[in-house]
Symmetry: C2
Subunit: 211 residues, 2 copies
């Protein structure tokens, strides 16, 4: 197909397609003349992936690194998944790289019975988020941690259970996109569940007590 059809199929504007070509995020088409090239299904797929990653807020260098992992998965699926997911926001500032101790995250992971590995980027993210709770005066409690831990694990189990494992590319695509783009879904669902639970408890306190 010509580039105009690629634009129509993917909904990615021509200027953006050209930018992705220049940045190496989209592989070149097959040249048919000095100024034209033919594109195929792999270009449609790749543009869909780049669009999704960009839509999830990932900057170009992070998208490039994920595409590199998708194209050249090196190491076990488990290791490649870890590297790919490390490209996702939130990004910690450079100085945090030097820190290898995350006491709040360590305490939470110990309590949940999970391995504490400071090299894993989400450990630093958890530490920063837990620090934010303390600054805001709503620190994590035992009771909340127990409930969150149980429910978050239930969500993670369905996520991993639904992951395709036939090819590294499919698994990485699923893991990276699933991690990034399901986060806003979970956040919106939680807000709506808050509303629903609050409505039932705050509007009808008598009813609540009778249950």
């Amino acid at each position: 197909m010509r580039v105009s059809e690629l634009v129509a199929r993917t909904g990615v504007p021509l200027a953006t397609v050209k930018y992705y070509l220049r940045e190496g995020l989209l592989m070149p088409g097959e040249a048919t003349s000095a100024t034209q090239a033919r594109y195929g299904e792999k270009h449609v797929e790749r543009l869909g992936l780049v669009k999704a990653l960009a839509g999830a807020g990932l900057p170009i260098p992070r998208i490039r690194e994920i595409l590199r992992l998708v194209d050249n998965p090196d190491g076990s699926l488990f290791e490649v998944l870890g590297e790919a997911i490390a490209q996702l926001p939130p990004y910690l500032d450079a100085s945090a790289d030097e820190v290898d101790e995350f006491p709040r995250a360590r305490a939470v992971l110990d309590r949940l019975g999970q391995v504490y590995d400071p090299r894993y980027v989400a450990v630093g993210q958890l530490e920063r988020a837990l620090e934010g709770l303390e600054e805001a005066g709503i620190p994590m409690t035992e009771e909340r941690l127990e409930a969150y831990g149980r429910h978050v694990r239930g969500i993670a189990e369905i996520d991993i259970g639904l992951m395709p494992t036939e090819s590294a590319e499919d698994a990485i695509r699923y893991a990276v996109l699933g991690t990034a783009i399901y986060e806003p879904v979970i956040a919106a669902m939680r807000r709506l569940a808050h509303q629903d639970v609050a409505q039932k408890r705050l509007r009808n306190p008598e009813e609540q007590e009778q249950q």
Copy 2:
């Protein structure tokens, strides 16, 4: 206390304190001379709240609106909570305000047995997030929705159960901050749970099968 002590107590830089005073986010201190003022515990508390909201990524006009609700709660606690939480990101573009139909969110809420009310801002957020899933080629499935719905509701129940209801100010502070600053905690916990579950399943598939 003098402003220097306020800075030391809260960790908010002097320039930022002055900016918050100018913007009306922090109430003025008691003037002790033409150039000096005295501050009290309410200033420490308010600065902590503004710092936490700003740290959660809220822009100044949104913080101002939340402080207005905290200072002048008008309507039932349920309504005020809804207005306060509507100030949180993600913000939908202006054109979305005109849309009153969110078919994907409606289908999800119907399936979960929750009320569909398009005026509630998280409905639009859910719609946008679900649309992102489709674009990325990992749409919501019945199986995932059932599991997510159950676990997210479990999280929301502990959240609402731990909410202070003595004063509207405390409830709003808890609901707004709790919604905003617990989202990154849940996201980081989910990523770490992914790692833990994936490690157990992908590294030891034989062990997994024996269980």
